[in-house]
């Protein structure tokens, strides 16, 4: 059976494992129509509680 010729160094191993973080992408944010704050698209604004021109919830901060 084939075997590795050399032991993989810690550096090589950790570099490979660190690539997992490179795959993480930040969420695409959109601006709220009501207050202009950045929010997740297609979701109620957590800042002012508005969605599609309608006040839906009471925001937690207020």
């Amino acid at each position: 059976m084939a075997h590795p010729k050399r032991k993989l160094s810690r550096s090589k191993r950790d570099t490979r494992r660190a690539q997992w973080y490179a795959g993480i992408k930040t969420a695409n944010l959109s601006a709220c129509d009501n207050c202009g704050q950045k929010k997740l698209p297609h979701r109620v604004c957590p800042n002012c509680g508005h969605y599609k021109g309608r006040s839906v919830i009471t925001p937690k901060g207020a």
Partner: protein, 219 residues
Amino acid sequence: MRHKKRGNHLSRTTGHRKALMRNLAAQVFEYKEIKTTTAKAKELRSYVERLITYGKRGTLHHRRLAFRMLQNKDAVTNLFDEIAPAFESRAGGYTRVVKLGRRRGDGADLSLFQLVSFEKVAAPAKDETKKTRKKSAKGKKEEEKEGQVQKAQVEEQVTEEPKEEKPAKKDTKQDKKAAEVTEQPGEETVTEKDETAEEDETKQTENEDAKDKEDKPKK
């Protein structure tokens, strides 16, 4: 294969899932809008829409069908007496699912399940403004008291300052005139003109006065 098998099992047995939908639907008819996970809300739509259709039919048979699904008398009466009549003119699409975001703790995707035209809309914004107003009102009262005192002081200062300044300026000007007159007694006509002019031009700035001073010696 699960080809064309519709619906989300929600990781529950049939009985558990049925009981869940029953409870959620009953709560919707009681509270008009409920917060739940997006998956449950989407699954709940078909249950609630069918029940509202039963409510619109309004017969005893449909009341019994609704009770078979809900197993809750209060929910059935709510549905047939209060909710179904409001949807007389609406052909389907009685519910709305609005995404809220992720729940802190388990990261579940949450949604608000609403009955259309039963939204609790105006309350949040008003509460916001009220709270801010209350806070600001308390602050404002104190600020206003302080501000009024300060304003009063400022006004006193303002009223006092011009009175003090105007006479002082007039005095200085008169002194200057007098000095000019004493310096140049021969040119009475010029000084008289200057006096009348200066009386009219008391509002003018000091620079112009300075120009006048510069002009006079030349004449």
